[in-house]
Symmetry: D2
Subunit: 340 residues, 4 copies
Amino acid sequence: MDNQGRIELAVIGAGYWGPNLVRNFTASGAAVVTHLCDLDLARATKVAAPYPAIQTTSDYQAVLASGVDAVAIATPVRTHFPLAKQALLAGKHVLVEKPLAWSVAEGEELVALAAERGRVLMCDHTFCYTGAVRKMREVVHSGELGDVLYFDSVRVNLGLIQSDVNVLWDLAPHDLSILDYVLPPHLRPVAVSAQGVDAVGTGFASVAYLTLHFDKPIIANVHANWLSPVKVRMTLVGGTKKMLVWDDNEPSEKVRIYDKGIEVGDQDPNRVRVSYRHGACFIPVLDSTEALARMAREFCTAITQGRAPETDGAAGLRVLRALEAANRSLESGGVRIDLG
Amino acid sequence: MDNQGRIELAVIGAGYWGPNLVRNFTASGAAVVTHLCDLDLARATKVAAPYPAIQTTSDYQAVLASGVDAVAIATPVRTHFPLAKQALLAGKHVLVEKPLAWSVAEGEELVALAAERGRVLMCDHTFCYTGAVRKMREVVHSGELGDVLYFDSVRVNLGLIQSDVNVLWDLAPHDLSILDYVLPPHLRPVAVSAQGVDAVGTGFASVAYLTLHFDKPIIANVHANWLSPVKVRMTLVGGTKKMLVWDDNEPSEKVRIYDKGIEVGDQDPNRVRVSYRHGACFIPVLDSTEALARMAREFCTAITQGRAPETDGAAGLRVLRALEAANRSLESGGVRIDLG
Amino acid sequence: MDNQGRIELAVIGAGYWGPNLVRNFTASGAAVVTHLCDLDLARATKVAAPYPAIQTTSDYQAVLASGVDAVAIATPVRTHFPLAKQALLAGKHVLVEKPLAWSVAEGEELVALAAERGRVLMCDHTFCYTGAVRKMREVVHSGELGDVLYFDSVRVNLGLIQSDVNVLWDLAPHDLSILDYVLPPHLRPVAVSAQGVDAVGTGFASVAYLTLHFDKPIIANVHANWLSPVKVRMTLVGGTKKMLVWDDNEPSEKVRIYDKGIEVGDQDPNRVRVSYRHGACFIPVLDSTEALARMAREFCTAITQGRAPETDGAAGLRVLRALEAANRSLESGGVRIDLG
Amino acid sequence: MDNQGRIELAVIGAGYWGPNLVRNFTASGAAVVTHLCDLDLARATKVAAPYPAIQTTSDYQAVLASGVDAVAIATPVRTHFPLAKQALLAGKHVLVEKPLAWSVAEGEELVALAAERGRVLMCDHTFCYTGAVRKMREVVHSGELGDVLYFDSVRVNLGLIQSDVNVLWDLAPHDLSILDYVLPPHLRPVAVSAQGVDAVGTGFASVAYLTLHFDKPIIANVHANWLSPVKVRMTLVGGTKKMLVWDDNEPSEKVRIYDKGIEVGDQDPNRVRVSYRHGACFIPVLDSTEALARMAREFCTAITQGRAPETDGAAGLRVLRALEAANRSLESGGVRIDLG
């Protein structure tokens, strides 16, 4: 830390996301960004221009050898593991972009290593730091919805097709991390199955459906699609008492809580009695703090307080397990894969 | 036929749908409804009140023995087969509400019998007679979308829970019949898989996802849900050239055709080149003829012209095959079931 | 009344609206429709077909001479006055479609006559009997919005152009009657001004704006337009504490109450301090009773209880005064006209 | 100009808008920002930090004495006139934020002075440089809509209340400049009237309606409101052939062109025959260039080419005339004010 108690942080990767990390950690007041590291030094220099105090470098080892407390890794996924592992071995706290690593085995090794070395390992599940998702979590955890019955998430758009991964790997980390964050800990999926099609011939599914199975009568589903003419980002959460809709296309009224539901009365063998409740709808005010700013603060606070952050390595690993299982299910034509 | 060349028709069943059939066949001018038959004679009498020419009866055999040309069956699904079979054996043309029958075996027998006797067998897939679905078919069949890549249909609402069937059996016949009607005949699903959950304890899934597999790189999916706080009825159809959205919640601008797409260029082993086209959107005018009126006319015209109607028994049977396979998949935890 | 205590009612006019009155009064159980009168007897006979107990006639005097308690007048506006006057003189209670009469002078005579004869005179301001407008009234009257600051109503569509009146006369009675019903009685407009243009050459404005002035810092405005490509029916009501939006295009979530507002702090001569409150939104459940059914019951109940109905002749007259003043303002290029 | 042919520009004012001008002129490549001038030098220094080549100063005279070709004035409205006048007198080209000046007299003097000195005087009507408004202009000017019948613009929100001007002065410059830009030059308003209410006690109207009158059967109207719980930014333009809707709340499908209309047939004295056309809707692709970037380029190009820019001083003056007349109308209770 510097003499003002701020975390000294190196940002690794000056591509798409790195500049956002630089900006938000700097603005947080809880960290001081001392280094920006990228193999393309010119790019790092350009990104760092408005921040005279940032040193730019292409030498990761030098960053690790410096006195920084922590590194924030925003590099291609395949490099997450070696970079994060080296940082943990060097005693640094580590923030990694999602997904945590390229494989579950890698993710497990990072989580174990962080535990062993007593370092904070955090995965940047940015959506979990938005006002909308935090409100969803608050509502679900409070019991206001009753028991959760289903979670349905649609994330479709005319999207940037990735050539080396399928659409679930690209988009579903958002939905999986949100599901993990919003549902209470006793509700974790136990298996997944996935259906998809390689509609544009890249060798990977560009339209896919992921189902998460539980050991309770709950179902979760994600529709991820790079080929939709319209952008839909809508999540439904049904509960025994109330139901919730999150429509991220709405500029401000993103989360609606419906006092609607179904009650099934005493059953005799021949007949089910169902009653319907069509009550009011409530649209809460959402905290409008920028998600990345809140994420940055959470990382710093977790380090300072020596506690696990909200979206810690374990959460990142759970998301990764579901993704890897989804890939196996896709490859095998939709077979159900246990999450072990 | 009567002396004006109109089909003489008996409507069987005076419950929810029967009165609509009476009204629309009468208004069509192509048929004259001579009988309304229901086990509950009082109900039939009440429904027939504004139509002095309609005889009401609870005796189906008497109807078959009369000179009617055709029967329109709007009774509980389990009775479709015996009623339709008797009518075909009595030489009547038959219209049946969807789904065609309770099992594929029953459906096959009806289709075979109609062929053998040279009678029209039609399934009332009402949505196929709406202006929106007909426009979708026209656009897809014309090749305007290019090759179809996917078909995604969401049909969710706080719906009337059925106690003896699952939500797919209740709602998916709409989507399956639309899919069957809209896609060209060389694109037929070859297998299905289904995921669902019995969220309210009726013994049947109330939230379910049905995937249809093809022997081409196409995927179709249906989300059917009785427990949604909001009503969504939205279908996306992606093609290699254009894409289409049908939002049935829109009062008039239901179908939108997007000049959007993705083109994948020549591939070298290491890189996929993708280009995106974000063109204009076109919202065509839809024919606003009432769907049921058009369906009624189609049945009469098919009889008069001695040809198969648009949604004939074979179409009804294809829908039934997918439904039955979906049930088997649901019961076996999502296993893929071939459509034989 | 008949021997079951039901009002005996004659419906006058079998055109567009009359059949709705017949159906709803019959269904109400509070009235029995005994006559349907129209100069076009064939039309009346056709409309009355499903109601064997209704006598059809083209002789209005015979209706008045019969024992009916009340008449419901759904004829062209220019005939409202003579028909209603004769009925009142014959001792009948009278329901008139909106607007009450063709001129304020006529309306005043009807109101005075009804008072003199002790008969119920009611104007069918149907919107005031919808769940949405009743909820608005309840919210405004309860003080939940604080003091009302403005009322803005947009009613535009590609509408049926009337050839003998302007668009305000056709559409604004809805907005004016709703305003009259929703605002508390101490808030009545004192003057109006209107702007418009005869855009299609009928001799009357087809696009118009009506402003209502008050003797308090409140403003109300109506945009009425027959030439809009889209249908908008949206009313905003701003208050010092909360604000309300009624969007009649919404299928069910029509009324939203926003806990939003502005507070102006102590002012010094040089600076205004304003604080903004961006609170939650609440969407209440609306009573879904058909408006016309509720209106029919209100007319019958007012007769039975000998009290003024909710939208009585006085309310109809206030609407008429605003309309007539709007016409004068339109003709004089927008001059402000006092409501006297 | 510098040796690369770029306009040398000083930005005056480092408040809300100045930084946007600095960024966009710099990015345009057509100008080089040499000075940023603000009475609050610290603020100017902070804004200029990422631009090492910009000199900051609080001395406007020094700026004018420098070799800059042009100044861009983004200061409080009351200072527009003295600053712009001095700049023109010093031979500089001038860009002024909207509105052009505090009074018509001031505006006229600036326009005359620019003409006399042969300098470019431009008003930053930013909306006129958006893809949506440019498409509207293109459609209207092409004659695709036929003759324009009306222009209706709603701009309401829970807005930042200004304490020294009314809501028309704050918001209507957008609508007035758009109207001026979109309508062909032979369609200019000849008079205005305005209605409003000082709903929150600032001494100025916070809810207002502005009507523009023409010497043809056209009407234009603006609803400006700081007290709306919802943000609406919707413009309707009706024509004899087609109609257009611009909904600025839509993320991408902002402009829709409806092939809808009304045709009035040959009239006999007793009857108007109207036919309705309900055709398709077309949603064009909009140019997504940032408006301010395009505005910056237009200013530079106009200087280089020695021509009037699109939103020149004359356009700014027409907007100002309407605003000043609207103020007079508001103060006099809605009297119609000729635009002279």
